[in-house]
Amino acid sequence: MRTANRLATLLLAVALLAGGVLLAVEALLAAAGRPALLTDAGGWAATLGDTRWDDPAVRVSALVLLLVGLAVLVAELRRWSPQRLDAGDGWHLHRRSTERRLAAAAGSVPGVHRARVRVRRRGDHWWPRVVATGDPATRAEVEFAVRQELHRLTAYRPDRVEVRLSRRRAA
């Protein structure tokens, strides 16, 4: 979401800059009595002058605006995953890179394939959840590998490490 926000802001900035310059130039040309360069303001005014409020196109446009606005609002107001994890004493770990590192540790256990790690949190506490395909008997080894990797990275010891192992489907 952070990257989406930055990209959207960049697009908004470019749109504001280009649209603002175009509006200023066209308005100045109109004030000087010169013909417009790119836009047909007269045509737009005529279209809006012919369109009634109860037109179906207006309803569709209003609904699109409303739904897009609500979607953006929900996306911005919901609780985001933290960008970094508290590791104590002013130290933090970048969440994504930690998840990748822990996934590599879990995936290195023999018999485990395609391990994915997501950090879960409640309040100040966080713990990794490993979802992998492999032999369920390796669960303890996966948990040990993840704990060991966390220990190597930080002094933080999570209360628990969730491991979900599912058997690989036969081809």
């Binding site: 959207a8 649209g19 509006l23 308005a27 609904l63 605006l65 409303l66 590599a104």
Partner: protein
């Protein structure tokens, strides 16, 4: 712009979109008093007022366009500056004859060089803010994928102590974020299994002695 600033900006824009969509829908359904659903969007009265106000109406539109362009330019510069990572912070201290502001870039670069002296730290980024004798220190280190991280905190702590002694300051607040590089190239273990390099201690041959 910070993440929080982006969030505030897009929350405000979303509220504007919801308000605009809601009002247009209410007008479409005839729920707002004073406007009939059969009325046109751009009435003759509005167009006449625009023509009567000419050329000031066009000049007002030009001014609005320039304001929008200035806003866009400001946003663009903030975004690009953040993307370049050119910000190193500013140290500031109020005095009797005003406020002294000091660009912290040279000081921050010195600490960055010291931090990257350790091969485990691939890149370091330092931002200094606050009062010069008691600055707030924001450090971001990128750790090489194949590096062992034991002792890294000590290295960063030592670099900061060295910096504090040299600059004659004591950090009031220290915030360090470690970003771990993606796991490096893998190697094939004796059993034929592919094992990422930094977790090679989990090779099947050594598993028994390290298990829980």
């Amino acid at each position: 712009m910070s993440n929080a600033a982006h969030r505030v900006l897009w929350t405000a824009l979303a509220l504007l979109l919801v308000a605009a969509g809601g009002v247009a829908l209410a007008l479409n359904l005839g729920l707002l008093p004073g406007v009939e659903p059969g009325d046109v969007i751009l009435g003759a009265g509005l167009r006449r007022a625009w023509r009567l106000a000419a050329p000031w109406s066009a000049l007002a539109a030009a001014a609005a366009g320039l304001l929008a362009a200035a806003g866009g330019l400001w946003l663009l510069r903030r975004e690009l500056r953040a993307a370049r990572g050119a910000w190193h912070g500013t140290l500031a201290r109020p005095g009797r004859r005003g406020r002294t502001r000091l660009a912290a870039a040279p000081l921050a670069r010195a600490l960055e060089r010291d931090l990257t002296g350790d091969p485990r730290v691939r890149r370091a980024r330092v931002v200094l803010t606050g009062d010069p004798p008691r600055p707030d220190l924001w450090v971001r280190v990128e750790i090489a994928a194949d590096a062992r991280t034991a002792g890294l905190r000590e290295h960063v702590g030592t670099a900061i102590r060295r910096y504090a002694d040299t600059a004659g300051c004591r950090p009031a607040h220290l915030d360090v974020t470690a970003r771990l590089d993606a796991p490096g190239p893998v190697h094939v273990a004796a059993s034929g299994r592919i094992v990422p390099r930094e977790t090679s201690w989990l090779r099947p041959g050594r598993r028994g002695s390290r298990g829980p």
